[in-house]
Symmetry: C2
Subunit: 236 residues, 2 copies
């Protein structure tokens, strides 16, 4: 087979992201501890996020609005305005986190860019994503950057058709089975699953289906991608 | 001259938007009226929005976070959690507003699409904008849709180069001098300013410069665009 283009997810594939959310979750549980059982906080917040997804999409701003809503609900309206300001401050702090590349990313991306068309395909808040891409120092290695509101089969079909890449000659590398691997495998492409040590519950859907899907590979580290490309192309 | 492609701004050029924000401003002033002089509310909110722009960008979610911050500040922290929930409910209501095309838009866009390359070039929240484009029923008339985080000279240069449109053969139609007209005129293209009856203060910047810029035209109604295109191309 030929792999004409390789797509990379961004958050938790190229750079750390979920650790920033995870740290905020921790501060949020601590903030609410006078009012609510910490064990109750995460499931309630997740439920609010899912309810709000159709209005707010992904990203820090929607997450922050969901934190505020959940806090009001969980405290029966007793949370103070000052504590809500603290939640908004979490958002400012999250936005100020410097982008930290995962180990091995810079070399792998630089190496592959020399011989392949690379695409950065990420979802989420346009504003958050653009500023992280700019900060990452990797932008020049990607021929195309696509920031999508959702990464499903239809979205991949559109992007690949726009760039004239046949799905069978496309490889997508990412840490989310739901958003990176399964939709690409369903189109006949290759999905390379490189798990991150933290994964948001919403992105963990489809773990069982993935284990059996053809065209899905699981690697322990992004640095193993070039060898996999070579192996697939040489047909061994 | 030849006009090879025509770009259209979306909010307040193709469909109503600022009226939804304006209505929310009204409800927000009413909500805060037990605490603050209504005349003080809008300037304070605008100041918070400007401060937050670099973290939150444009769109409903950033606006809502700025409303909450301003409310906490203006009330000296006395605003209640329930009132803050009301502000979040404003965001949900804004997201639920159906898209209302401006008068004359559907015919004009349909007519021009028959003979021209049309581009929809909007800025703001990816999620908000995509859902409005889908709802508008106009998506099929546009050859390219670009949702940008900022519409400045550099952003237009990138978009036009990607689509192989020389700036001198590009016309941009919009209601913001700052985001639609001046940057395009600076690149040597044609900016067609069609004012909306409400304009956010941030987008009103540059009114004096525009009056004198070459390549800037002001029309009273979007329905006059086809005649202007014809006039410019025939060189009369």
């Amino acid at each position: 087979m030929t792999i004409r283009a390789i797509g990379f997810d961004a958050d938790d594939t190229l750079w750390h992201n979920e650790n920033i959310f995870s740290l905020t979750h921790e501060k949020y549980r601590a903030l609410l501890s006078p009012y609510a059982d910490p064990a109750e906080v995460d499931p309630r917040l997740f439920a609010t996020e899912m309810k709000n997804l159709r209005h707010f999409g992904y990203g820090i701003k929607g997450f922050t609005l969901s934190m505020i809503e959940t806090a009001i609900e969980l405290t029966g309206g007793r949370i103070t305005a000052r504590e809500i300001q603290t939640i908004i401050d979490f958002a400012h702090e999250m936005r100020e986190q410097p982008v930290q590349l995962l180990e091995g990313v810079a070399e792998t991306v630089r190496g592959l860019a020399a011989s392949r068309t690379l695409m950065l395909i990420t979802k989420g808040d346009l504003f958050d994503q653009e500023s992280k891409i700019a900060q990452s120092g990797l932008a020049d290695h990607f021929h195309h950057v696509e920031i999508l509101s959702e990464k499903d089969e239809e979205a991949y079909r559109r992007v690949l058709s726009r760039h004239g890449v046949p799905p069978r000659e496309f490889m997508m590398v990412g840490n989310s089975l739901r958003s990176d691997i399964l939709p690409v495998a369903a189109l006949g492409g290759v999905g390379v699953y490189v798990p991150y040590h933290l994964t948001w519950a919403h992105e963990r859907e489809g773990e069982e289906r993935a284990a059996e899907a053809p065209g899905v590979f699981r690697l322990g580290h992004i640095g193993e991608v070039p060898a996999l490309v070579e192996r697939l192309e040489s047909g061994v």
